[in-house]
Symmetry: D2
Subunit: 355 residues, 4 copies
């Protein structure tokens, strides 16, 4: 008899949603994609071709989908503004949840998801910080954890996207929460991972520019941002995010400790091919985030599935998502106010820093 599989549904079939749906369909042996939801007619069309032939039932109503017989889990990849509501409904319907990051661009709303989850401790509820599943970041973490670099002290990380000249990013910025919440959220989460989830922020300051897309200003956003986060206890993380890379996606991280340093993806590469041409030696690099992290998403799907089926602990806590958004929002606020924001040793914001 074949082993039990996790019955899962995918909510949202946009760019990332379609990838999640296919990963759960084809690359997650212990999961069975049984349902999918999208309100978008074009995405429904796509699902008719790519999912329905495999027995996946398509829904255009999220609540209906949650009632799908035998459904055990939901992966949420709807628009960011719907994440929290979708997640809370799923939790209340007693489903395990894998929610794309961020839970919400609002700290309070993010917290409400954590609260909902804490009322159902038997459920697995995870925020999809994909880099936590990347082989290179895990390799780096294991080394840090084993003491290979001494005490991690300085953390540098960047999320840099290839320029999309279509202007998509401008319209997207209206709901993205801003570059620090949308892009650097990954880097912030990594900082908390490597420095320790109990790290307490001491100060936050950010700046940025609209180098190519001045229209971002109307959404209080930028296309290049630099932020610095001090933690109590002598640790500093600094971040860069950009939406105008020429060559492709270049996400990189350095963890600098008292005995050594780890660099993740300092020299970006795509395939292992180098081209020797009259203009020199050239290599191509991934064009987008998924090109860099495809296998991390597959691992994420498989580990989430295993945790649900085997009632194992998830690799990280849901509350970390609130911590990361809190820092991201503070950076975004600092970007717009021009002020440095300070916190006391309990993590409480100092009023003086608002002036």
């Amino acid at each position: 008899m074949a082993p039990r599989k996790l019955n899962i549904a995918c909510a949202g079939l946009g760019r990332m949603g379609a990838r999640h749906a296919l990963n759960f369909l084809n690359r997650t042996p212990r999961a069975q994609l049984v349902a999918a939801f999208t309100p978008d007619p074009r995405e429904v069309e796509w699902a008719r071709v790519h999912l329905e032939p495999s027995g996946v039932v398509i829904y255009t109503d999220y609540d209906e989908m949650l009632k799908h017989a035998g459904l055990e889990a939901v992966v949420i990849a709807t628009v960011t503004t719907a994440h929290a509501e979708n997640a809370i409904k799923a939790i209340e319907a007693d489903k395990h949840v894998l929610c794309e990051k961020p839970l919400s661009t609002s700290v309070e709303i993010s917290q409400s998801v954590v609260d909902a989850a804490s009322r159902k401790p038997h459920l697995k509820v995870m925020c999809g910080f994909s880099r936590r599943f990347d082989a290179s970041y895990r390799d780096a973490f294991d080394r840090v954890d084993s003491g290979a670099i001494g005490r991690p002290s300085i953390f540098r990380s960047q999320t840099c996207d290839k320029l999309d000249p279509s202007g998509f990013f401008v319209s997207y910025a209206e709901f993205s929460g801003g570059i620090f919440v949308d892009c650097n959220i990954h880097d912030i989460d990594l900082a908390l991972w490597y420095f320790g989830q109990d790290s307490i922020v001491k100060s936050v300051v950010a700046t940025g520019i609209c180098a190519l897309q001045p229209e971002l200003r109307k959404h209080k956003d930028v296309d290049n941002g630099v932020g610095v986060v001090e933690f109590w206890g002598g640790k500093v993380a600094y971040f860069y995010s950009s939406r105008m890379m020429a060559a492709g996606q270049h996400d990189m991280t350095e963890i600098i400790g008292t005995n050594g340093k780890l660099a993740v993806n300092a020299s970006p590469t795509g395939t292992l091919v180098e081209m020797h041409e009259p203009t020199g030696v050239r290599r191509e690099i991934p064009h987008d985030y998924y090109g860099r992290f495809e296998y991390a998403f597959v691992t994420e799907a498989n580990e989430f599935t295993a945790a649900c089926l085997d009632n194992k602990r998830l690799p990280f806590k849901l509350s970390g998502a609130v911590q990361a958004v809190t820092i991201g929002c503070a950076l975004q606020e600092s970007l717009n106010s021009g002020q440095k924001i300070n916190f006391d040793e309990t993590g409480r914001r100092l009023e003086g820093s608002k002036l």
Copy 2:
């Protein structure tokens, strides 16, 4: 209704066999692993734990396995000496076949598999040249094919394994066909791919040493080999194989054309982590062939499955396996005779070269 899946069996559950079995079980959505064969009690034990719970029927008799109801295809990963017989039996039982390389260490026996397959043109019979499915080698091929480097003229390729101090390689050498047939077969196949499958060998010469394992001599083998193959029409391929790399697996290839060069894996890497330590900057590299080519094997399984289900052409011809073994055997002969072997423009061996 779920889409039709290819019912496949895996013959041989040794190191590579177990990987094939798991890949067809878990990472090949359109295939269903229904049966597995191994005569080895320890491998049977492994299969009871890892395959049987998923509904795979275990056989200790190959002929019985071929009679498994509904079986459509077989992946053959038994010992090299059994490849051909297993493949021919499967073909005669009307099964599609994916056979690990080489078909045989004998040119004649390899040819007999091709002959068997040609009598069943409706079957898909493929020799598992895994590098043909590697993203980097495909990227390089597409560039060559598009004319990016002009006319490919010089080809350099190496297969270099990490030293295995257990002595396994020595006992293995008794049946491996020798280092040029066992290791460089991949490089030879690549040369034929990039130079064109209709390339005709002009001469073959090889040498080698037993740097660490003098006992290899009794099997007429070496632990480091260098071979040069001239093709008619002004093309040269040269090869290196080694069994004593310190750092790990380092397979690399250069294709040099009249307008440029492509290098595949010139700077070997494992994960994207670099370690900055008091002794310098260090990176780890894959420890074995599978560490380098894992995803190529997954792609191989999926493309073979699709070709069977959709009756599409395989990406390369079975007869290429005979060409590659022919060259590999000639190199091995040259290694042992110390003679260069010459061929005329039709590929017929020149007698003089035997003296």
Copy 3:
């Protein structure tokens, strides 16, 4: 008849001074090292062995050295606190001056050197920003200047020294002006070079930690610093400096423009040797600043000499040294006050930012 040579003296024969002296003696064909000054008996001893046999006259009194017959130029590599006084005296004695960076850790004193130089416009007075003479930085500048990356917008640069466990850095910190003035001064100067010398600072903020050397706190310094400098006109530079690198010196820079990015020394290397060892692939990197920039110093000596002999323009203006120190001091102040410092569009400091 041999061509005229520039008669030059070297003031200070410590680590950098000795290198300057030897470079002018042996690697600057158009210069003649005629004199050297040091008050330090051990340095005098060194000079007796390495300089005197080549006809260099050793002085223990700086003023006496300035009177050396036929002396035309002085390279100043005394302790930082003496730079300005030495430089001004040399200028007043009508000598060309190449002064090690910084002119002074004080903005006002630095300015006094510029003022002295402006009263003697026929003299060549240069601050030794060695990276301006480095082949890689020049290559990058030429590309930026030719428009290769569009409008340079984000600048990241770091000066990271290998850990010196002797504690030297702590005592040195008393007079160094702090990590942003001592280390990042180079990066700041590069930012002004690539962004344009007329860039006006909008804000400055810095933070840092004493990860390994808490005693630095008594000199108001840190062993790891992060600083962000905003310029009016939509440009941001951010800096990192460290005194605790494990592997060696790693100074790197990225210039990010609207059409592309240039990275200088992203993957640090020493010689071209890579070692494949059982622990992986390793390379060594330069142990100190001079190991990385040796040839830049040689070029600096030769170009300074040529400018003096041929009355050509120096490659950059002396006043840039004041700009760089001003920014470095502001970063150091921000580090210690915890405040962000703002400037108006004329570069005038905003009072509010002092609160």
Copy 4:
């Protein structure tokens, strides 16, 4: 009083000669370039501008130059066919000699230089194997010598020039001795250095193609050559040379030992700049041999000068130049005959191999 300098003359002022002249003039503090010889009116013109103003006397008669008062040493960079005669005359005139490689393309003539030198044991006579002075090759040698890679067993090395579409190489080939003598001579010399100067050749075989310049065939040469040299005692060296690289000069070497491997210049680079462009990440590499080895030539000049002045041993023996040419000529012969050439354990050629 200034220290004594070595009075040296430069014979030949072509591309390499001019570089040698300027290196001895400007970058070799202990040498004094006093004379230069060239029969070529354009080179004389160049010398009038670049050498004469520094007091160098220009000769158009080599014998006259040798009589220059006080001359102690000669660097020979005339056409290859004149090397040996020039060197022998200089030796007989009691001058130290630094002769560009090869001494001659003929083994016998090369030996005659060695014989001449052995009659004047007080003279320093060196063949300019520039790579022996390269920091990376020296680093690699020191590691091999210290046992870092165990017993060196396999040696791979290539000399690959950027394509020169002017056709220069074709006319040059008439006198160059062929690609194995002209290009791979460096790699052969390195093999002897790393394997030990007392290594005895067991067999030699070579092949090659005219990929772009079929006219080379009339000079019995090729534009791409592959050669394999077996040494008695279980060592193999294999070589590649090319005249059609697109990106630039790429000379690289691997020394593979029983415990590890050293790679020299596996990833060629020019400056430390990497360009991130819409087509990917690109770097430029040196365009010619001098771009790669400039500082090795400077070191060569300085060490040769020091050996002459201080009567110290040269870093390697002159007889090695005969060994290298012997192997190079054998490879060239094998290329043209299509035969493998064998040698007995005393290094004597086996007649059978001529058939």
